[in-house]
């Protein structure tokens, strides 16, 4: 008699009967333990600490003062600047990066181009901080090589362009936003099947009609999702902004740095409130990204 069971069943070759095979517990999860422990200690715990401290007074009692301050004065201005910087650099880097990724993915040749662009993007996306700031100052700063070259060779004067501004930061951030976009959106472009384009043409659609009705709607979740990641990256970037502007441009990230390093009046709770501010923005951006990715993966599976 065979018992009903939801356990996997194997055929016993010797006697031809079925017997339940005991489930084996995989130990693969052990590999994730170091990472999870690290994330818990240095991401989750500090995050909880930031949230709690943002609502605590100097004597430890509950207050919403710090959070309310976020919407006033220099804090409001920092938020506006950071959002503007994040949005502009995400849009610029997103559009340029998308076009670059599209060109590389669809061209396919020469064969080395794809791997070259991917490798370069992986490096460039992580090129930030003092080296990046120096590179831009040395290139298009008021005394930069390109500034002088344009002035001497073509009579074009760009020395009035101020790198130490939100616009200047957008230009600099775009340097790592473009390759980041290439890395994130290239797999989505790979998922755009040739059959869809051909089927649309076969049904009488022009290239424009195909892109409007199929190509862009299919890519939209991935592209918008990728731009949200860029937005988050632009909002949270710290080292490049500090290296380039020395805190002269009022941003959330640099304000947090100032509060935590004691460069201004010691108000660690305000720094924690700014940290909470950044956490909320990042959670919203990443949450939307995950939602869009879920939709995108559903369509192309």
């Amino acid at each position: 008699m065979t018992a009903l069971t939801d356990a996997p069943v194997v055929v016993d070759e010797a006697v031809g009967t079925r017997r339940p095979r005991p489930r084996r517990r995989s130990l693969a999860w052990l590999g994730a333990v170091p990472f999870l422990a690290y994330a818990f200690l240095f991401l989750v715990l500090p995050g909880v600490s930031v949230i709690v401290s943002a609502f605590q007074n100097t004597n430890g009692s509950f207050t919403t003062q710090w959070v309310r301050d976020l919407f006033q004065g220099q804090f409001l201005s920092a938020n506006v600047n950071s959002l503007e910087l994040a949005a502009l650099s995400a849009i610029t880097g997103g559009v340029v990066g998308f076009l670059a990724a599209y060109a590389v993915v669809t061209l396919g040749r020469p064969r080395w181009l794809r791997s070259f662009v991917t490798t370069f993007s992986a490096v460039a996306a992580n090129f930030a901080g003092v080296p990046l700031a120096f590179a831009f100052v040395a290139t298009i700063g008021s005394e930069g090589a390109m500034t002088k070259l344009l002035e001497n060779a073509l009579g074009v004067n760009i020395s009035s362009f101020n790198l130490v501004s939100v616009t200047g930061l957008v230009v600099v951030y775009t340097y790592f936003q473009i390759p980041l976009m290439v890395l994130v959106v290239a797999p989505a472009l790979d998922g755009l099947r040739r059959e869809w384009r051909e089927a649309a043409a076969n049904l009488g659609a022009s290239a424009t009609q195909y892109w409007l009705r199929v190509g862009l709607p299919v890519l939209a979740p991935s592209v918008i999702g990728a731009m949200l990641l860029l937005f988050a990256s632009g909002f949270a970037a710290y080292a490049t902004a500090v290296a380039l502007t020395s805190g002269l441009v009022n941003l959330v990230a640099t304000l947090i740095g100032n509060y935590l390093s004691g460069n201004v009046i010691a108000q660690p709770q305000m720094g924690q409130a700014l940290g909470l501010d950044m956490l909320v923005v990042l959670f919203v951006a990443v949450g939307l990204y995950l939602l869009l990715q879920r939709r995108a993966s559903k369509w192309v599976r």
Binding site: W196, A201, L203, G204, V214
Partner: protein, 368 residues
């Protein structure tokens, strides 16, 4: 419905010749299958007809109109791809409606057409589902409905069943044929599956290395293969090394035994050639106790159950192994080791003028 003509199509990809002078005409309402192994050029031919590839030379005509230089989106052809061609962001109904929207048809007309076609392919209840919510067979039905919605002059099918399970494949190919006959639409069907091609086509065009080997009805291609390639690619065939005895009467000799072929031979008496015999034309019978019988003697070395028939693998004694089919109900008598005598149905053997005996007489490989 329109006729379709492929005239002298050549296609080269760098140094590779994909099509080497393909000529084929489809009558109005006819279903012709391009049948051949992978890389024979059949899909390239279909893509040239659809306008997705440009022929190196040659012309494509639809109803007498030259469409060689007409872009794919102006050719008025419906196409069903191998798989994954449904637009993933649109429901089944929206997919079917796509071509009609592009043509700016009125909403009511579009809705009526979509409903009619979903009914035709038996998926009216799946109108609101997205492709990822449909099985492979359902997706291909929707793809067929989408291709038919624009009422194309020609329907092109590029191995539409290749990604499906065996049972679904059989059901859907019959459905495709039913719909094609119902609509009377001229259809070019690409497949590498000979059973599929033989079962649904008015004519089969067998291709090899960019050329047409033979074009004929399924029965003609199967029974009267024009070339050794067709004989071997379409169905299983045994090759027996024989010597021509009486060319005018179509008589050959195999191991001292006279055999009657299907038709007079263009070879001279005494010439050595090969006789092609299908497994079902080789009739096995049990040899006598002394191992002799009236027929080609051999010994069963293996059997393959194929359903209604069982295929016997018979060693003729000199390393040559032939395949012979027997009704499965009577197959129990032919166990491995059994001595048998094989006779050939009169007129069932065929000699190809181009098929000189060059190789060993092994005619069908024993499956591993």
């Amino acid at each position: 419905m329109a006729t379709l003509a492929l005239q002298g199509l050549h296609k080269r990809f760098g140094t590779v010749t994909a099509l080497d002078g393909l000529d084929l005409e489809l009558a109005s309402g006819e279903l012709v299958s391009l049948l051949g192994p992978s890389g024979c050029g059949k899909t390239t031919a279909l893509r040239i007809v659809a306008g997705f590839e440009v022929a190196t030379s040659g012309r494509v005509q639809v109803a007498g109109r030259d469409v060689t230089d007409v872009p794919a989106n102006k050719r008025d052809m419906g196409m069903v791809f191998q798989a994954y061609s449904l637009f993933p962001n649109l429901t089944a109904a929206e997919n079917v409606e796509f071509g009609l929207r592009v043509r700016r048809q009125a909403k009511a007309a579009r809705a009526a057409k979509v409903a009619e076609l979903l009914e035709l392919v038996g998926l009216a209840s799946a109108a609101g589902r997205y492709p990822y919510q449909l099985s492979g067979g359902q997706q291909q039905r929707i793809a067929l409905a989408r291709a038919l919605a624009i009422e194309p002059s020609v329907l092109l099918l590029d191995e539409p069943l290749s990604a499906l399970d065996a049972k679904v494949r059989v059901n859907l190919r019959e459905e495709i044929r039913r719909i094609q006959l119902e609509l009377g639409i001229t259809t070019l069907y690409v497949t590498h599956d000979q059973e599929e091609a033989l079962s649904i086509s008015d004519r089969v065009a067998v291709m090899s290395q960019g050329r047409l080997e033979q074009v004929g009805t399924p029965a003609e291609v199967y029974r009267r293969p024009a070339t050794p390639f067709v004989a071997e690619f379409v169905g299983t065939v045994n090759r027996l090394t024989v010597r021509v005895v009486d060319p005018a009467a179509g008589i050959v000799e195999h191991r001292g035994r006279r055999l009657e072929t299907a038709e007079p031979l263009s070879l001279t008496a005494g010439a050595e050639t090969r006789l092609l015999v299908r497994p079902e034309a080789l009739v096995p019978s049990l040899a006598g106790a002394d191992g002799t019988a009236d027929g080609i003697g051999g010994r069963v070395v293996g059997t393959s159950f194929l359903g209604a028939v069982t295929r016997l693998w018979v060693d003729l004694g000199d390393g040559a192994v032939v395949a012979a089919d027997v009704q499965s109900a009577a197959a129990d008598a032919f166990t491995p080791g059994t001595a048998v005598a094989l006779s050939i149905r009169p007129g069932a053997g065929r000699v190809l003028a181009s098929d000189r005996s060059e190789a060993d007489p092994v005619v069908a490989e024993l499956p591993a």
